[in-house]
């Protein structure tokens, strides 16, 4: 047990212990999470699956530091983030996490390049200094020709690729993807998942929420949730664990 904890300190990106989340909906208390234990190691590709209402979105929100657990512990990169206040959580999100959303969520009035730069603004970074790197990220996702386009001039797949580039700009500990291919056709879905998979191969830790079986095949480990608890974990032998 002790040895396990020590090992975890070196490679664990996420350690969650006994996390519960209770929402008050009118007079009724709804328990969305009923005690989750979860560890995610550096370089892992984890998929979280489950029917709606199973608590997977709530878990993702807590993992993404968008929400705080009602009780339990959450260490992100060795830092206790369960009790942090709003401002500190904001900077944790900005520094350590990358987000990919189902509906891309690009900022419509900004160009592709500017969208990629958005997380840097809130880290008080000098945008000029990072400009070359942002352009590189743009070409990494195959959009070097379209850096000055606006989101509405791009296809869904292209928009999602911008979002992927944006999630990488702050060198995050972990990328959280919420149904990243939910709005895409199957051809583009494969392209986007390919990019995400490549990122994982380069050592990025990825946590992906989906209810698509095919998507989950890319992950090393699939966590199935049910009624606010982890129902079962499936190790995907074909992918193999990078550690």
């Amino acid at each position: 047990m002790v040895g396990h904890t020590q090992a975890a300190d070196c490679t664990e990106v996420i350690r969650i212990r006994g996390v519960e989340k209770v929402f008050q909906v009118g007079e009724v208390l709804v328990q969305a999470l009923r005690g989750i234990d979860l560890s995610i190691r550096q370089g892992e590709f984890v998929a979280i699956m489950g029917p709606s209402g199973s608590g997977k979105s709530t878990l993702l929100n807590i993992l993404g530091c968008l929400d705080r657990p009602s009780s339990g512990e959450y260490f992100l990169g060795g830092e206790d983030v369960a009790r942090m206040d709003d401002d500190v959580l904001s900077s944790v999100r900005g520094k350590r996490l990358g987000f990919i959303f189902q509906s891309y969520n690009l900022i419509p009035q900004l160009t592709v390049l500017e969208n990629i730069q958005v997380p840097l603004i809130y880290q008080q970074e000098d945008l000029e200094e990072h400009r070359d790197r942002c352009i590189e990220l743009g070409s990494l996702v195959g959009l070097s020709e379209r850096l000055d386009h606006r989101p509405n001039q791009l296809s869904g797949g292209q928009q999602q690729r911008v979002a992927i580039a944006r999630s990488l700009v702050n060198e995050p500990l972990m990328i959280l993807a919420d149904e990243p291919t939910g709005n895409l056709d199957s051809q583009t879905e494969i392209e986007v998942l390919g990019i995400i998979n490549d990122l994982n191969k380069q050592g990025r830790t990825i946590v992906l929420v989906t209810h698509d079986e095919i998507v989950s095949h890319y992950a090393h480990r699939v966590i199935h949730m049910k009624d606010g608890l982890i129902d079962r974990e499936v190790i995907n032998e074909a992918q193999g664990v990078v550690s």
């Binding site: 968008l66 904001s90 999100r93 969520n105 900022i107 900004l110 958005v118 809130y122």
Partner: protein, 428 residues
């Protein structure tokens, strides 16, 4: 570093506003009109009151002016058709009475004012022949342009000399040097010894010139003794079909008191004295000091009214901005959620939206300042009115517009920052 970051935020704000150009433009209109109207109205008001005060100041704040006026009952007699000689007005006796009995009187300058045609060569202008003493120059602002004013010697020897106003010079002497010429009034010639500039002293203007709406001063000053001997005291007025004669000794007195404080008590005492010796109400008192105070009071009231109008229009403009920003916040809920997820603190969101409102209001303010400067220029160009654009009115209007942006931006911005990132992201 921080300033670069701030510049970035401003840039971002402008970009967001440019997404809805028409909407942003319309929102700014309120502020544009507000700022423009404040500056323009203050400029026009300032110009008007400046002119009024200049005019009054020229009368002298230590002076009391007494004018002879035709009593109303005499007018009625004339209207009935009888051609009558009427006698009214201030007399030479009044001069010595005032000089001897009223305390604080420095000097009294009597004036005889006769409307007559003034001729030189073939040029002719209607104007006022003013008979007065050399001391007139001591109680009234007389800007000598050339030559000299009347002297005691002129007075003593009833010399046929005159000092004429610049306006008259321009009309009568287009090519000649007035100082080497003489003008003719009725049958007498007067050598021109001096030229004075009197523009702006409305009190001296011929009444007819005024009704034409043009500021002209066709005055010629001659020694009082000369005026007395050449024109007599009976003035005959021939107008179509009827004839009337008036007997007036003096048309105006300028009473100079030693201090402005003496003016107030002096006015009451002169009023009292003249009432005692005049059975008819054939004189009026003008106290420039009082007029000046009234003008200042009027200006103060005017500024208060303007201030309220400005406050209301900027308030309305501010509410317009707030309204649009609240709509914008609702519309951009998802963007706010995304930004929060990507690391924006509540503070960053507040700054973002506040910057947008301030850019709107300051942008509107700048445009308003431009219009506010152009409009008074147009007014003075087309309406021939004096306008004075004061720096403080521009700064104030501009400052208030910026302040309006901040005040009315705080609420929408805080609404935006209050949004829970999860809820904001979920918003469609």
């Amino acid at each position: 570093m921080i300033s670069a970051h701030f510049l970035n935020t401003v840039q971002l704000g402008i970009k967001s506003l440019l997404v809805h150009k028409l909407r942003s433009g319309l929102t700014m209109l309120g502020i544009i009109f507000g700022v423009c109207s404040v500056i323009a109205m203050l400029a026009i008001g300032e110009g008007a009151s400046f002119e009024a005060q200049e005019r009054i100041k020229r009368l002298g704040s230590e002076n009391i002016i007494i004018n002879s006026i035709k009593p109303p009952e005499d007018n009625q007699q004339n209207a009935s058709g009888n051609s009558f000689s009427v006698e009214y007005g201030i007399t030479y006796k009044d001069v010595s009475r005032i000089q001897d009995t009223i305390p604080g009187v420095e000097r009294v300058v009597p004036l005889r004012i006769i409307r007559e045609n003034i001729r030189f060569d073939r040029n002719q202008e209607s104007g006022q022949v003013i008979g007065t003493l050399p001391s007139y120059a001591l109680v009234h602002n007389v800007d000598l342009v050339a030559g000299r004013f009347l002297t005691p010697t002129d007075e003593q020897f009833q010399r046929n000399v005159c000092v004429i106003t610049e306006d008259l010079v321009r009309k009568l002497f287009p090519y000649q040097d007035p100082l080497k010429s003489s003008v003719r009034v009725k049958d007498s010639y007067y050598d021109v010894v001096g030229v004075v500039d009197e523009t702006g002293s409305a009190e001296q203007r011929p009444q007819m010139g005024d009704s034409m709406g043009k500021a002209v001063d066709n005055n010629i000053y001659i020694p009082l003794s000369t005026a007395r001997s050449r024109f007599g005291e009976m003035l005959v007025n021939r107008s179509s079909g009827s004839m009337s004669a008036e007997r007036v000794e003096l048309h105006r007195l300028i009473v100079r008191l030693t201090t402005p404080a003496a003016v107030i008590s002096g006015e009451r005492q002169i009023q009292h004295l003249l009432n005692h010796f005049h059975k008819k109400k054939d004189f009026e008192l003008i106290v420039p000091l009082q007029l000046l105070r009234e003008a200042e009071e009027t200006k103060r009231m005017f500024n208060i009214v303007l201030g309220s109008i400005a406050a209301i229009s900027l308030l309305v403009g501010g509410i317009g901005i707030m309204n649009i920003m609240l709509a914008t916040v609702t519309e951009r809920t998802r963007e706010i959620g995304v930004r929060r997820a990507l690391g924006a603190k509540r503070k960053d969101i507040i700054v973002q939206f506040l910057v947008e409102t301030v850019v709107l209001s300051i942008g509107g303010g700048l445009i308003g300042v431009v219009f506010g400067i152009v409009v008074p220029l147009l007014v003075s160009w087309f309406a021939d009115m004096k306008t004075i654009i004061t720096a403080w009115s521009v700064l104030m209007a501009f400052g208030i517009s910026g302040l309006t942006g901040i005040i009315f931006g705080i609420y929408p911005a805080s609404q935006a920052a209050k949004l829970d990132p999860i809820d904001a992201l979920r918003q469609e």
